[in-house]
């Protein structure tokens, strides 16, 4: 099979050893790569009940079969582990040249186990793997770390690293690559920090063998042609993800004031597509992609004038903007940069600061524990970012995530701690699009916008937003499509904006690997992967009880916007979950049925428990 290397690099930091870990060819046929391969390997290799921050946890960096091939959007990697934030399965995706470099030096990915006795970093090239001392880097921010490691190499080097948040085991610390790209969610940076691993450097390598280069070039040419006439692709290339804020505000799903409201007029022309566009200095694209949807922006005025970031993306604008009632783009750019250099997920961080502001305004936090933080307090919000990263003062509580913070604060604050399974909500309020509620509730890593994007159907498509009707099948279908994209490890954006179909990706897969996959093969693979991840979480003690939504989403009617008066409600959620389980072939408790396990050839896994 072309396009893959058939092995991972296995690093044991406790022993200080490295070796090759062969990947059976069958795994690529049954799980493709990325998310799917991660599901298979984590299930097989991680002992049940492992403490996520112990040396026993495993940290996978995985590519997909298209990585390194020049197929459009194929420069992603995924970090797979057991999350310290949720104690569930965790997959965190990132762009980053390290993905292609890993393939080039001969691996489809790597798995890291153990804990180094001293702070270290990994240096990987074609000649071998070194575990090197990183004591001079420990404590440094991720930008400084990356620049330092690149400067000491003669050849171009590509780096993934953690910042102080990862070192300090902040439960939503991220892993940074190429300065501005993050594997953001679920605390993968904390797992890396727990292993005393500061960074990974990959250098050099050879091109990946391809099956049919001519077919691949033809597919890219056709994708480029379609993008050139796609209004969606054209709009995205001009405005980037900030355009989503105009949609979510209009459709009434924009998180505002810690998800109390769903629209915010003050965001318009300040922190939306129009406002951000005024500060754009350059458009850039990832390696192997012609959709230059990423924006380099520069703060144009005020205290942070001149601060530059690749971003801010929609999620950051939503959670540091409307969610905190901050309408200053320069402040959001500064918040974005702070999170990047300190190594924090902007989604979880913005969400938690919104929660803290609401707690503060409700008088639930004694003044001795935190300053009097109110919505709209720009400097206060920026200060909390640093408190969290360094676990200073009350930041030590917040660093455990919003669910743990609510447990600590008490006073009924869990009702407005916006999380599922401990993972903080991204920037969509499910009360304005009930399918998002289902998608958050059943997501195996907790509240997640990557498994499905129901607003595409509920705000912009054919599905009425304030009903449970038809949502289970719609969400399952989106989950399955994204499962394939995230197992091939291609970016969602070209797929959805050009757009590219599953048939197109089957053609890409053939051009790169020489293997033929049908659409029904993809459906079977996606169902198998989602069911295997369900089995992993079940083995860790998760079931239907954890597939739920916070009180605010279920019971507090929206006070504004098109969905004024709407909340998801228990009956709607239960109906959607019942129907979702049914169309997955899981029973009413969310346990895959024997027939489903047989169909996916997973019976052995279930009996092993």
């Amino acid at each position: 099979m072309k396009g893959v290397r058939g092995k991972l690099l296995e690093v044991d930091l406790t022993q200080g050893t490295t070796q090759e870990l062969p990947v059976p060819l069958e795994h690529y046929h049954r799980y493709l790569g990325g998310r799917g391969l991660g599901a298979r390997l984590l299930y097989d290799m991680l002992p049940p009940g492992t403490d996520p921050l112990s040396p026993d946890n495993l940290l996978f960096f995985l590519t997909g079969p298209l990585t390194g091939s020049t197929a459009v959007g194929a420069s992603k990697f995924v970090v797979v582990t057991k999350s310290p934030l949720t104690h569930t399965w965790c997959d965190a995706y990132s762009s980053g040249r390290i993905s292609v470099q890993l393939k080039k030096v001969g691996y489809d990915g790597m798995v890291i186990r153990g804990r180094a006795s001293n702070r270290c970093y990994l240096r990987i090239d074609e000649q071998g793997v070194d575990i090197r001392d990183a004591s001079h880097l420990w404590g440094k921010d991720s930008f400084t770390t990356e620049k330092t490691l690149k400067e000491q190499e003669e050849s171009p080097a590509f780096v993934s690293s953690i910042g102080p948040a990862g070192e300090n085991l902040v439960k939503f610390a991220c892993i940074n690559s190429d300065l501005y790209r993050q594997a953001g969610r679920g605390g993968v940076g904390a797992v890396m920090g727990s292993k005393h691993l500061k960074a990974i450097v990959v250098i050099g390598g050879q091109g990946v063998p391809l099956h049919d280069r001519k077919q691949l070039l033809g597919l890219n040419k056709e994708a480029h042609r379609r993008a050139s006439v796609s209004p969606v692709a054209q709009a995205r290339m001009k405005y980037g993800t900030p355009l989503t804020l105009n949609i979510t505000h209009t459709g009434g799903i924009l998180p505002t004031k810690n998800f109390q409201f769903s629209t915010w007029e003050k965001a318009l022309e300040k922190i939306d597509s129009v406002g951000v566009y005024r500060s754009v200095k350059k458009h850039v694209s990832c390696l192997s992609c012609f959709i230059h949807c990423s924006l380099i922006t520069e703060a144009a005025e005020g205290k942070y004038k001149g601060v530059t970031v690749e971003g801010p993306e929609y999620e950051t604008l939503g959670l540091f903007g409307s969610n905190l009632l901050i309408d200053s783009l320069p402040t959001i750019i500064q918040a974005n940069v702070l999170c990047d250099i300190l190594g924090l997920d902007t989604i979880s961080t913005g969400n938690i600061i919104g929660f803290l502001m609401e707690c503060s305004e409700r008088g639930l936090i004694p003044p001795s524990k935190a300053f009097d933080l109110r919505f709209g307090d720009e400097e206060g919000a920026l200060a909390v970012i640093e408190m969290i990263a360094y676990r200073r003062g009350f930041g030590d509580i917040l660093a455990e995530g919003v669910r743990a913070a609510a447990q600590h604060i008490g006073g009924g604050s869990d009702r407005f701690a916006m999380q599922v399974k401990g993972l903080e909500f991204p920037a969509y309020d499910p009360r304005g699009a009930f399918g998002s509620g289902l998608s958050y509730a059943v997501s195996p890593r907790g509240a997640c916008h990557r498994r499905a994007w129901p607003p595409a159907q509920e705000i912009l498509g054919d599905y009425p937003p304030y009903t449970a009707e038809g949502k289970a099948e719609m969400v399952r279908e989106q989950y399955d499509i994204n499962c394939i994209l995230h197992s091939l490890l291609v970016c969602d954006m070209p797929a959805k904006f050009i757009p590219l179909s599953m048939e197109d990706y089957a053609n890409y897969l053939h051009a790169v690997t020489g293997e033929s996959f049908s659409i029904s093969d993809f459906a079977q693979i996606a169902g198998r992967i989602e069911t295997l991840i369900r089995l992993f979480n079940a083995r860790e003690g998760f079931g239907r009880e954890e597939d739920t939504l916070p009180y605010r989403t279920l019971f507090e009617p929206l006070p504004d916007g098109p969905g004024k008066g709407q909340c998801v409600g228990e009956d709607n959620l239960n109906r959607m979950i019942d129907e979702y389980y049914a169309c997955r072939g899981w029973d009413s408790a969310g346990v895959p049925t024997e027939a489903t396990l047989r169909d996916y050839e997973l019976s052995t896994e279930a009996s092993r428990g």
């Binding site: 796609s230 355009l243 629209t263 916008h449 994007w453 912009l460 498509g461 954006m493 959805k496």
Partner: protein
Amino acid sequence: MRVIVNTFGTDIKLKQEIVLEPASPSLRDVLSALRERYRVPLERFLNDDLSPVRGVAILINGRNIRSLDRSATTIREGDELTFTVMVAGG
């Protein structure tokens, strides 16, 4: 009748207040009247028969006309009409 028009595409225009006199308050007639005056900006969003171009959604006060009464949806004084490409993801 006064309506507010947003267009989200390769050019974004927000909160355009437009006074028009449609033949009836149905969306179809409002679109027809809008096109008379705003032909260039709306041709990216509307087909000749006033249906949305493929990949475009029309929202009335944030609600997709597909889950309202489509072209028969009644438009009222001050309603906000949004024409948008079907962007997904953030």
